[in-house]
């Protein structure tokens, strides 16, 4: 039900708090719904996709895009300069190319030829206007930090399709910012989003906050001219409503499905699951700044005491895999060569005793925000009970989970993070003193490795520095990544042109390539 506002770049949380038609028996039902049944050929049809809405906290402003559904609307109407592959590597989009000088501070970006929906060309000035707006704290963009690294006084356009972005500090990883959610290019001077203009594959049709959004195919897109005439994003906060709408042919796409719905759809001929493996990192945040986990022995005991295979099998209902205490398995920059962390109850018990913590009570904050958390909390309590820690789960309300968890300064709490570039995660969540560093991890050595990586031009050398940083974080940060869960969407059997991809990546919910029938 109304998913609460989500963190912009961690959209995977189910929160908030997310094909129809073709379905056999569904055709009759489709006839009853004007939106679906009518239309002859492939290109004439309206594609309908159901998402959990943020209620009315929604706007067409692409720079303020806290929920999955906002991101999907932004994707339809706008373009970014770059985009993310499935492994979060950077790929060009509106930008044809980018390159830095030897200092890593001056970035020259060349744009491809593209037009806005009103026919005006996309220019370097538009990009500068956009990035200034993103960097303005008043805009409230999730990418504000990425763009506040730019010195706009020193940056400028050197032609209609060429610009130089000057950074305040060297950063050879800067192209990540060009692909960030919330950096979609707007025409210079945009202040209102009542009738927004973008350069994406769909034009604006209509939008009611909390209600449906309608987009129309734009024939002038530089990359993909959509194969469907219209795209409609409809809100359906209940998972059951999304699934039923899909199975009865009322929508072609149902986003963000979990456990029971996934199993139900596995047996359906009229629908197909799109499962992106490992899309969500399941974590427990152990507070390094305070007792008892300021004692590294207890962090290690926690890591060795939990049974990750059992957690993946039971709490993730088999739709996921064990984690290795690092974010981003399978992503660009993840150190894949590390051996998996296995349960070692004897060693864990010895560490607990050594730390003088036998029988210690550890409150663990959890919530219904993610379906896996409560079963995981129960399992972890049992597993750690065997090593002498008394874990007591506390369930908090889903919409206010994060603010409560922070206010109560929990010592142990659940968290999830959707697919993000590994470096973004390290910078935002693990650097000492970072705003979203929730474990209080502060390691001079780790921070220094990140700094060196940032100013290292050579890709292989940079990767090596980041691997070293991650090895430190794995043991000391207090961030226990116990598993990775799949992200599931479903489509009706007659939908073509869509494949499974992790949320936040380019190909996820990419409706400009969709065809029906």
């Amino acid at each position: 039900m109304n998913r609460p506002v989500q963190v912009p770049d961690d959209l995977a949380r189910g929160i908030g708090r997310r094909g129809l038609l073709t379905g056999m028996g569904a055709i009759a039902a489709a006839g009853l719904l004007g939106g679906c049944g009518s239309g002859g050929g492939d290109g004439a049809r309206r594609f309908r996709a159901a998402f959990a809405a943020g209620g009315s906290q929604e706007t067409m402003d692409p720079h303020v895009a806290p929920n999955f559904v906002d991101q999907v609307r932004a994707k339809a109407m706008f373009d970014t300069l770059a985009t993310f592959g499935d492994d979060m590597s950077i790929r060009p989009r509106l930008a044809e190319s980018w390159e830095s000088d030897a200092s890593g501070k001056r970035w020259r970006v060349r744009l491809r030829e593209a037009r806005f929906h009103d026919g005006a060309p996309v220019t370097a000035e538009d990009v500068l206007f956009t990035y200034r707006r993103v960097a303005d704290p008043g805009t409230g963009s999730p990418s504000q930090q990425l763009m506040s690294a730019v010195d706009f006084a020193a940056s400028g356009a050197s032609g209609p399709r060429e610009l130089t972005l000057v950074l305040k500090e060297a950063d050879f990883g800067f192209p990540r910012a060009l692909a960030g959610v919330g950096t979609e290019v707007l025409p210079t001077g945009t202040t209102s989003f009542r009738n927004p203009v973008g350069s994406g594959p769909f034009r604006f049709g209509s939008f009611t906050p909390g209600g449906p959004a309608l987009f129309k195919r734009w024939d002038g897109h530089w990359d993909t001219v959509p194969r469907v005439a219209e795209l409609e994003i409809v809100p359906a906060n209940e998972e059951a409503a999304r699934v039923n709408a899909l199975l009865s042919g009322q929508v072609h796409y149902a986003a963000d499905l979990a456990g029971a719905a996934v199993n139900r759809l596995k047996g359906e001929k009229s629908a197909r699951l799109l499962s992106a493996p490992r899309a969500t990192a399941q974590q427990i945040l152990l507070s390094r700044g305070r007792e008892p986990f300021s004692d590294l022995r207890l962090v290690e005991a926690f890591q060795l005491g939990i049974d990750r295979a059992a957690l993946a099998r039971i709490a993730l209902a088999g739709q996921g895999e064990p984690g290795n205490d690092l974010f981003g398995k399978g992503l660009d920059g993840y150190p894949a060569d590390l051996p998996p962390r296995e349960r070692d109850a004897d060693r864990a018990r010895a560490l607990v005793r050594e730390a003088g913590a036998d029988g210690l009570e550890v409150p663990l904050q959890t919530s219904t925000l993610d379906a896996a958390w409560e079963p995981a909390a129960a399992l972890i309590a049992r597993q750690l009970g065997e090593i002498g820690l008394k874990v007591v789960p506390h369930t908090l309300a889903a919409p206010t989970y994060f603010s409560e968890m922070k206010e109560r300064r929990s010592v142990a709490a659940f968290n999830t993070t959707s697919t993000l570039p590994v470096t973004t995660f390290l910078e935002q969540r693990l650097r000492g003193g970072a705003a979203r560093n929730l474990t209080g991890f502060a390691s001079g050595e780790f921070d220094e490795l990140l700094d060196r990586a940032r100013t290292t031009r050579d890709d292989a050398a940079r990767a090596e520095l980041l691997h070293r940083a991650q090895r430190i974080a794995r043991d000391e940060s207090g961030l226990v990544v116990w598993g990775f869960s799949d992200a599931n969407d479903a489509i009706s059997a007659d939908v073509r042109g869509l494949r499974a991809a992790p949320p936040n990546s380019h190909d996820w919910a990419r409706f400009d390539r969709v065809a029906l029938g």
């Binding site: 039900m1 109304n2 039902a29 009853l32 209600g211 009865s248 206010t400 603010s403």
Partner: protein, 315 residues
């Protein structure tokens, strides 16, 4: 009658006020606020504090309540903390969807319930009565959620007779495709219908055999007149209050039905407002629900007072 009405009206206003104060107090006591919901994981303490100040959440609760009440007296319900959309607009949009569901359900209930109640009440103990009564008990025993799921599975997914949900439709678009309303209206009406029909049945049955009716029959009054002039009015009097509860039930019971069928009505809107700690919106919903409940109960009392004036003693 006039004094009775005035006293009941005054009481109604006081009741509304008590509800508003209680809702505001409870909302203030709930952990978290809109600033925390909006910023979720990414807010730093400074950002949260700044947002709180901008939303006026840093001010003392009595001040905020006073302001809201002052606005209310001038007809201004304020704006949603979350979206800055006027509360009245949000409420209006959701009220439309709920009315589209609740109005047909209400019509269904108030026409069918007396019919079934009177028919079965006059034939108490016959096969027809037992059959209908068993059906009513059964229907009442099935939770609305389950009933909805069963209907979707059988009438939509298995047979394709009806659309499974109203996903993507709002307000008049719902009316334009009445097929989507069939199941939600049926589920919404089912429980109220059972409740009301059974109550009327019991009243009719009791009145049919009451000393008054027997007396009138002994006096030679025709059975038809006894039933229409005495049995039915005396049975409907107490049921008037059940009618009132039925309106309340239709509004309140809509939460499940709306969620299941993807309708964006008052029920789901209220739940979302509470979850988002959107106080002005929560207050407006509370006012609307409390006002409706108090008004229909008032109407119910006045009607039953009229149908059976001696009840004033206990009112």
């Amino acid at each position: 009658m006039g004094r009775y009405t005035a006293r009941r009206c005054l009481l109604a206003v006081v009741q509304c006020l008590v509800v508003l104060v209680a809702v505001f107090a409870l909302g203030t006591l709930l952990p978290g606020d809109t600033a925390g919901v909006l910023l979720a994981e990414q807010g730093t303490p400074e950002q949260v504090a700044a947002l709180r100040e901008r939303l006026g959440l840093d001010r003392p609760a009595p001040d905020r309540f006073g302001d809201w009440l002052g606005g209310l007296l001038t007809g201004d319900l304020g704006r949603s903390l979350l979206t800055n959309v006027p509360v009245a607009a949000e409420l209006g949009r959701r009220l439309t969807d709920t009315l589209v569901l609740a109005a047909p359900a209400f019509v269904l209930v108030v026409t069918l319930a007396p019919l079934l109640g009177v028919v079965t009440g006059l034939r108490e103990g016959t096969r027809l009565d037992r059959l209908l009564n068993a059906a009513a008990v059964l229907l009442h025993a099935v939770p609305e959620f389950v009933l909805g799921l069963l209907m979707i599975a059988s009438l939509s997914l298995a047979t394709g007779l009806l659309p499974a949900t109203a996903v993507g439709l709002n307000g008049t678009a719902l009316l334009a495709q009445p097929a989507v309303l069939v199941m939600p209206v049926a589920v919404l009406a089912a429980r109220q219908l059972c409740d009301l029909a059974r109550q009327i049945r019991a009243g009719v049955a009791a009145q049919r055999d009451a000393p008054l009716a027997e007396h009138l029959r002994l006096l030679g009054m025709r059975e038809r007149t006894v039933v229409l002039r005495h049995v039915v009015p005396n049975a409907l009097g107490p049921a008037a209050q059940q009618f009132a509860r039925c309106v309340e039930g239709l509004l309140g019971g809509a939460v499940l039905v709306e969620a299941l069928f993807g309708v964006q009505g008052l029920g789901t809107g209220f739940v979302e407002a509470v979850q988002n700690r959107d106080v002005p919106l929560v207050q407006a919903y509370a006012l609307l629900f409390a006002g409706t409940a108090v008004a229909v109960h008032l109407a119910g009392d006045l009607v039953s007072h009229r149908l059976a004036p001696r009840r004033e003693v206990t009112a």
